[in-house]
Structures are given as structure tokens and as C-alpha cells.
Symmetry: C2
Subunit: 283 residues, 2 copies
């Protein structure tokens, strides 16, 4: 296939690298940054830099832009993609994005699939993209408005380039679960950094601190968009966590060992069950 | 030196393994669990199982018990330790423990040093102890009521058995910083597990979720004791985090992109500075 990758940042660049190294597909690409295009060409991870008009050459289009930019790009340029072409996006929220993308895809007869490659780094841009970024990662595909054959083609590509898990679901379920497994984690990590005590941490840290604050550094513009495109589910999870933390604060402020033990045991038991579930999934 | 290790669980067992493999000191040990004693003997990590009375043979005593048990053991058995012996504990809180230990140490003429080896695992007990547990870890020693020569001896041992960083500080400062870098992280991780959404997480997780929930499984009795021995500092940090999370909830509930960006940027900038500080420390 001729695959056109729109946006050669961390995610698009990693798609280009993985596809060009692990498959025999022909990769074309575009990016607003000319240097990035030249690097990707020089690295041999794309064979051709194309204009939006030249997307007509593609059998598949991968949109690897931030949500708002991605939607706008698609609205402006879907007309250049040939009818029947499989197009998938890579946004971290699905319902809000699909609501805007599907009508456009239908208008131009494109076979659109919502997708979310669950991989990232604390850095962005082509220079940090990796052929191996998706190894062992999960690839989520949404069924909303998607043709089964198109879903199959997208999933096959995902497997070929290294994703370990393929999850097919609907957009609302995706957004609900991701609010908890990913979005909330980024808010907590970012918030965790906001204590003056962080300036005195040297020599007082072990793994728990490193893990807790790892994703506190993030792409502010991207995550602002992602959070506000999923406010209900994210607000619910955040409210729930604040409530659980407040229970701990009450137990500690009241020197209530019984309540504190009970709260810790509750979380411990859930984590133990969760680990057991993971083992079962692997088995 | 003859070193007696009291308690051969995860921490005591790791001390015994590291000391016997990495130094020429003679290790004696005791544990209420006879099987554990026999295993440690069979593994050659202690050369002799001793009774509390036989602590008189030791030139150094390492107390590796949970805080309340440790304090009680010391009150009951300090009389068996010969005058001038260096004794250190391994508790994760220092002020509350030292307030109880120092008068007893003074009464029997023991050279007591408060210590906190910042290493652990999500498992406890001798079977999980490791010769390498302290490699790259931080060893914190408190100066409260301690003789400088005793501090030096304890720090030298810590370096010999693999600790990468030695931090000498006072108990209050220790407790303040540790409330943030370690205790709060355990509460957050434990609380994070408490969402029904965790049951649907399979296929929706990347590194951020794994990191966020890693220490949610913990020794309930131990951490209940540790938290309640440091309520003021821990309550302050927990209150601060709840406030920061609530700011995020407000921004999301109000669809306030400006505030949300500002909150994310604030955390991001602190994390970036913190990473830069770490690089400077390493250089």
C-alpha cells in the first residue's frame, strides 16, 4: 500500500519509522516543518514528501496531528483523498473527534476508523520518534461508523508494526476508560509536582516518587485539548480520586488507625485483584 | 565487626545478604520466624542465630522491625547490648521513633543513630530480600542525639553495601520531605486503584497507569504506623495535593481552557526544573 502519514511528530514519525522498517508498504509523509520532512526523507523512513493534494496517491492515510488541528486539516483536505481510502486518526479521545470526522468522511466516501495508539514519551517531535515506540503497546480501534473490513486492515497494520494488544471498542467506552487509565494519571502526576517540598527532594527519593511524577512534564496544548474533549468521564474520575484522598486525610487528621488501615486495605485488595487479572489475561 | 540484625524480613534480610556478600563483617541474626532464621543460616547470609541476650556479642546492632515492634523490642532488650555499641534503626519515620529510642539508648550508654534505607519492594518478607536491594538507593541518617563517629561508621557501612547516596539530616526535616517523596506517593497510588473503572482497564493501559498504581499494594500494618507517626507533614502534603487536583476539576467542569493550560504549565515547569536540578546533582 501507499501510506500517507500526515504529521511527522512523535507519533507520526514513529509510525513512519515502524512501517518503513517492519513492512513493505511505501510511506509518504507531510509536516508543516520542512526540516522534519527533510530529516524523515534522509532517514529513509518516508520515500516522498507530499502536499495535501497528493494524498490522492495514497491507499491509506494516517492522521497524526493534535485533535483540533487534525479535525481542521481533515475538513479542509478530505476532498483530496480518493474515495474508498482507509483513513485513521491517532487522537487520545475518540467521541468528540469522531463526531467531527465521520460526517466529513461520509461526505467524501472515505472509510474512516478511529484509532488510539497507546504510546508516548515525555518528549515530543520527530527527533524523539522511535521505530520501537509501539512495541508492547496497546492499539485501540473504535467501531463507531467504521466498516469491518477497514477495521481489519488497520488492525493488521498495527500488529505488523509491533503493537502487542489490539482492542476494538466503541468511542464512549474508550473515553470512559482512558479518562481513568491515562488522562487522570497525567493530571495527578502534574499536580504531584506542585509542592514546595520538591525543591528539597534530593537524597530523599526512591522509585515511588520517580513513578508518580514521570508524566508531570507534558505537552500542555495537547493535553488541554484532550482533557476538554472528555470532560464528563474525566471529571467523574477526578472527583472520585479527590474523595478517596479526602478519606485518607480525615483518617490521618483524626489519628484514626482503624479507618486508615481499612482504607489502605481496600486499595491494596483492589490492586492485588488487578494484578491477578493481568496474570490471567497473560496466561 | 560482629553485626547483629534484628528482624530478617525484606529490609533486614537484604542487609544480611548485602553485608555478608559485600563486606567481611560477621553477621548474626534473629527473627521470630524460625523458618526464616534457618533459611538465612542455610543461605550463609548469617553465621549464627542469636537470642536477644546474645546481642551482647555484637559490635553493631541493626534493628529492622516495624516501628512499634521495634520500639518495644528495644525497650525490652537494650539492656542486653553492650555499652558503647552502635545501634541503628531502619524506620521510615524518624522523629516519633527517635523520641522513644534515644532516652533508652542514653540509659544504657548505646550509640544510637536513626537511619532510613530508602528501598523497598511491593513484597515483604525474607524470601523477597535481595543482596542488591540498596544498589543505587539513598541512605538517610539523622543527626538527632547521634555521635558523629557513630554516624560515620554507619555511613561507611551503607556505602560498602551499595547505597549510592548518603544523606545526613535531622529527624524533622527527614519526616517533612519523606511525607512528600514517599508517604504521599503510597496514599495516591493506593487511592488511584479505587475506581470501578479499574475492572475495565485491560487493553487501555500504558506506562502512566502502571507507574501510578505500582505501590498501591503495600504492607497495610506498616504503612498505617508510618503515616500516623508523621501526621502533620503528611496531612499538609495531602491537603496541598487535594487542592491542586480540585483546581483541575474546576477548570475541567467549567470548560476553562485558559485555566487548564495554566495549571498544566505550572506543573510542567516545576517538573522540568526538577529534572534539570537532578542533572546538576549528577554532574
Amino acid at each position: 500500500m501507499n501510506i500517507c502519514i500526515v504529521g511527522l511528530g512523535l507519533i507520526g514519525g514513529s509510525f513512519a519509522k515502524a512501517i518503513s522498517k517492519k513492512t513493505s508498504h511505501f510511506c509518504m509523509g507531510m509536516d508543516t516543518n520542512t526540516d522534519t520532512c527533510n530529516k524523515a526523507l534522509a532517514d529513509g523512513v518516508i520515500k516522498q514528501v507530499v502536499t495535501p493534494e497528493q494524498m490522492s496517491l495514497a491507499d491509506m492515510v494516517i492522521l497524526a496531528l493534535q485533535p483540533k488541528t487534525l479535525v481542521q486539516f481533515f475538513k479542509n483536505n478530505a476532498k483530496h483523498i480518493k474515495k474508498g481510502t482507509i483513513v485513521f486518526d491517532t487522537c487520545g479521545v475518540k467521541k468528540a473527534v469522531l463526531d467531527e470526522m465521520l460526517p466529513v468522511a461520509n461526505q467524501y466516501g472515505l472509510r474512516f476508523v478511529g484509532a488510539h495508539p497507546m504510546a508516548g514519551r515525555e518528549f515530543s517531535g520527530y527527533d524523539y520518534s522511535l521505530e520501537s515506540l509501539f512495541d508492547k503497546a496497546s492499539f485501540i480501534v473504535t467501531t463507531d461508523g467504521a466498516e469491518q473490513t477497514a477495521v481489519d486492515v488497520v488492525c493488521d497494520l498495527a500488529k505488523q508494526i509491533g503493537f502487542a494488544t489490539i482492542k476494538v471498542t466503541d468511542a464512549n467506552h474508550h473515553d470512559k476508560v482512558i479518562a481513568y487509565t491515562s488522562q487522570l494519571a497525567h493530571i495527578v502526576s502534574n499536580s504531584y509536582c506542585k509542592s514546595d517540598t520538591i525543591n528539597q527532594k534530593e537524597g530523599f527519593c526512591a522509585g515511588s516518587f520517580a513513578d508518580m511524577t514521570r508524566v508531570g512534564k507534558l505537552d500542555v496544548k495537547l493535553w488541554t485539548e484532550l482533557f476538554l474533549a472528555n470532560p464528563r468521564h474525566l471529571g467523574d474520575e477526578l472527583g472520585n480520586l479527590i474523595q478517596k484522598l479526602t478519606q485518607f486525610k480525615t483518617a490521618i487528621d483524626n489519628n484514626d488507625a482503624t479507618l486508615l488501615s481499612q482504607l489502605l486495605k481496600e486499595g491494596n485488595d483492589i490492586k492485588v485483584k488487578s494484578l491477578a487479572d493481568e496474570q490471567k489475561q497473560k496466561a
